[in-house]
């Protein structure tokens, strides 16, 4: 482990035993997934923030490996390999090292090697109940080691996705926004362009080529590209074919010829993303916002409300939970409920625990189909700092929304 004192080591071990005890008692089976992981799978699914901070290297035979930056993907792989199929029901808990490069330097609450302790719940079709069970057991763990003061922040990627699906906009515009979903900044730019001047999409492209492209005629577009390249003595090099180049141009031309998004729709999306409210009030706020525009997100909002009710039933104090519509958009594998637990000692940029639902991750790692899955984990070094009340100033970094 890192250069820690014997006392710190013992404190972390004791804390981990307590956490694992809570998880085991709640029915989670202890596992120890591999520390070395194939790099490709991780880099494909973890999103930009973690991708840049993962230790990647080649073994003597040239295989690309990484030191796991979190334990969720390794636990998924362990589950899939163990059962030969990913949709077997299971609940796991773990405590072990994870590794992340810290570009701003390592400090006590941002070590490059830290121990993550968490739980994962696979293949339970009762999604909301499973979401709440995970949040509940994480909170129980935190309380068991003595964390008294904390705040919970939640989000729901599902509501945002449902809103995008039900907006009355062109399929091209929807596809373009959807593609930017995981990158808030790019999404904002795309929205701005679509709602002001979609025609700008073709600025700077050769006029003759654009005029020869009909978004509904792939064969014609491909011929136009081939002709344009020949006329300008440009050689077609590399793997991308004239057909691929034509398909991309068709998309751009279709965007340019579409009507601008109406102002209200753009405003609606922006106000939707701006919703940040106490968890109970948030459901009503979202509903008002959308119903007023004739958009019915009945199922998604209902899911959200059910989940809140289940939280209340599980004695989780919903009055202390904040909902943020925009939260959870920088980890590409989340698909629904997301949460983060913050201690006032460490502040909002250094959450002590976090997690969420990731129903598409099993397919992404190669399991062949989507499997309902939700999990949460605790950054144990931070938790120890929070309960031993050693404030560590860290105002420069920003929470990534990742598992801490």
């Amino acid at each position: 482990m890192t250069a820690e004192s014997a006392r710190e080591f013992e404190a972390l071990e004791t804390q981990a035993r307590t956490l694992m005890g809570v998880f085991a008692k709640a029915g989670y089976e202890a596992v120890a997934p591999a520390i070395l992981q194939p790099a490709e799978i991780f880099l494909d699914v973890v999103g930009e923030d973690l991708r840049n901070r993962t230790y990647v290297f080649a073994d003597p035979e040239g295989a690309e490996l990484c030191l796991r930056p979190d334990l969720t993907v390794p636990t998924c792989r362990l589950h899939w390999e163990r059962h030969g199929r990913a949709d077997a029901k299971a609940r796991y808990c773990y405590n072990g090292p994870a590794f992340r490069f810290q570009p701003t330097g390592t400090i006590a609450t941002r070590p490059r090697e830290f121990r993550q302790c968490g739980v994962e719940h696979f293949a339970d079709p009762q999604r909301e109940a499973a979401d709440v069970a995970i949040l509940k057991v994480i909170i129980e763990g935190l309380k068991a080691v003595g964390l008294k003061d904390y705040k919970i922040r939640i989000g729901d990627i599902g509501i945002f996705q449902a809103m995008l699906r039900s907006l009355d906009i062109s399929d091209t515009a929807r596809a373009r926004l959807q593609a930017k979903f995981w990158r808030p900044e790019a999404f904002r730019r795309e929205l701005a362009q679509l709602s002001t001047r979609p025609a700008a999409a073709i600025d700077g492209l050769p006029r003759a080529l654009v005029d020869a492209i009909d978004p509904a005629d792939p064969a014609g577009a491909e011929q136009a590209v081939v002709r344009y390249l020949a006329d300008n003595s440009i050689e077609l090099i590399g793997l991308r074919t004239a057909r691929e180049i034509a398909a991309s141009l068709m998309e751009t031309v279709a965007t340019a010829r579409s009507a601008p998004l109406d102002k209200e729709t753009a405003t609606l999306i922006a106000s939707f993303l701006g919703v940040s409210a106490p968890a109970r009030a948030a459901g009503a706020r979202l509903k008002d916002l959308l119903v007023g525009r004739g958009i019915n997100l009945g199922a998604a909002i209902e899911t959200y409300r059910n989940r809140l009710q289940l939280m209340t039933d599980a004695d989780i104090n919903c009055a202390e939970i904040t909902f943020e519509a925009d939260f959870g958009r920088n980890i590409e594998y989340y698909t629904g409920f997301v949460f983060e637990i913050v201690s006032p000692t460490l502040g909002p940029v250094t959450p002590v625990a976090g997690g969420g639902r990731y129903d598409r991750l099993m397919r992404a790692i190669g399991a062949g189909n989507d499997v309902p899955a939700v999990g949460g984990s605790i950054h144990t070094e931070r938790l120890l700092a929070a309960v031993s009340d050693r404030p560590i100033a860290d105002s420069t970094a920003r929470s990534s929304g990742a598992r801490p």
Binding site: R51, P103, A179, I234, I237, E244, S248, L249
Partner: protein, 232 residues
Amino acid sequence: MTETLVLAVPSKGRLMEQTAAVFEAAGLTLRKTGNERGYRGELVGVANVEVLFISASAIASALRSGEAHLGVTGEDLVREEITNAETRVVLLKKLGFGHATVVVAVPQCWVDVRNMADLDRVAGLFRQTHHRRMRVATKYLNLTRRFFAGHGVTDYRIVESLGATEGTPAAGSAELIVDITSTGATLTANGLRVLEDGTILASEANLVAAKSAPWTPNIRAIENEILAKLGI
């Protein structure tokens, strides 16, 4: 013990000659001690300076570690080899040689890709079609990652290339490249074109100071003497 300032300069080729010329013009001579093939020397004109003749990228790492107080190397290497360079070194002076621009270049036949936003979109399409991510050949791993991240481009992977990078798209071992160019002629000859907003860095040789080097008042005085002669 006498305190010495460690100055790292390029050990060979045009960079070494041009560095020597800059110091010469300021009345300072870089002279190797011992035999001609050695890599240590002195700065004739200022006492207590130990000159290290090492490769340009070794200079960047010596500045990162603080092994050298001052060094002459390209800004491209400083930004590539030193994480958070702005907090760890000071670029004291651009020296007017070793110009090179680090750029993102794609095949000319990619008529649909004008800029980084197009590249982002096409990277997604490429991945859907080919079931793997686009390959970017480069020796600038860190500059590429940061620049691509800054433009939100994520569907790519880097193929490390230590020579003839501009030939990789035609050879089929990468889809696009990040490399240095001066006139652009080599890129054009290889059927490549720089993206509109694809300039990552306009680099040239710099005199650089390492913040983490063991600075003392005496060594500061030596530094001031050198900088004064160089007109900084």
